[in-house]
């Protein structure tokens, strides 16, 4: 059902809502699915010393990130009875209010999709060699720190 080859998760710029809708619509033909869980990361306009984040610029060690993502995918498919799992992460500039991460899991019964989605998000944030540079309105920047 699910090919397990290394696949690209990166896309330039934000994840558009229309892209998410298309991705959801594609699953209508898989009538074994009973539940989908989706996580979306959105860029916050945080204020730091009176300066406001206008955008985050993402860079990655792409080759290593894709290998690591493949490993995460294999672990998660081994652990949960998923029908499918899709991950998309932005590179380049994503403005405040736009979406930079889209994780989408599906399963026959909801629990697997929900748990797998959360675990996937946590592992992406902790393990993928990706960096965010928070660009302030006006000028200046700071490097994003994950909690």
């Amino acid at each position: 059902m699910e090919t397990r080859k290394v696949r690209n998760i990166f896309m330039q710029g934000p994840v558009e809502p229309g892209f998410i809708a298309e991705s959801i619509a594609k699953h209508a033909t898989n009538t074994a699915i009973g539940g989908h869980s989706i996580f979306l990361g959105q860029v916050r306009a945080d204020e730091v010393n009176g300066k406001k984040v206008a955008a985050i610029e993402y860079t990655s060690h792409t080759e290593m990130a894709l290998e690591k993502m493949h490993e995460i995918r294999q672990d998660i498919f081994a652990k949960y009875p998923l029908t499918c799992m899709h991950v998309h992460h932005s590179l380049g500039a994503v403005r405040a209010g736009e979406i930079c991460l889209f994780v989408f899991t599906s399963s026959a019964h909801r629990k697997a999709a929900i748990d797998a989605c959360e675990e996937c998000v946590e592992r992406i944030k902790a393990e993928l060699p990706v960096w965010g540079k928070e660009i302030f309105e006006g000028e200046g920047y700071q490097w994003k720190v994950n909690q």
Partner: protein, 76 residues
């Protein structure tokens, strides 16, 4: 030759994102060399990956190795 890559805030120190260097015997000697060239690197927090695998202690290097210097990840 080996290829050295810098990511995230490390590029604020190095001002370059990659570098080709003559081979070094191991990662420790490479790090010493880079710290001479970029003194602030000694204060920075980073992990090293050789050919896409994070290392926890010094390992020997082969010609063609890609050595990545990576500050804490902040994707998502």
């Amino acid at each position: 030759m080996i290829e050295v890559l810098f990511f995230g805030q490390l590029t604020d120190i190095t001002r370059i994102s990659s570098l080709s260097l003559d081979s070094f015997s191991d990662t420790d000697s490479l790090v010493s060399h880079l710290q001479q060239r970029f003194p602030d690197l000694a204060k920075a927090k980073y992990m090293i990956a050789v050919d896409n695998h994070v290392i926890n202690s010094a390992i020997s290097l082969k010609p063609g190795s890609r050595i990545a210097f990576m500050p804490p990840f902040s994707g998502g």
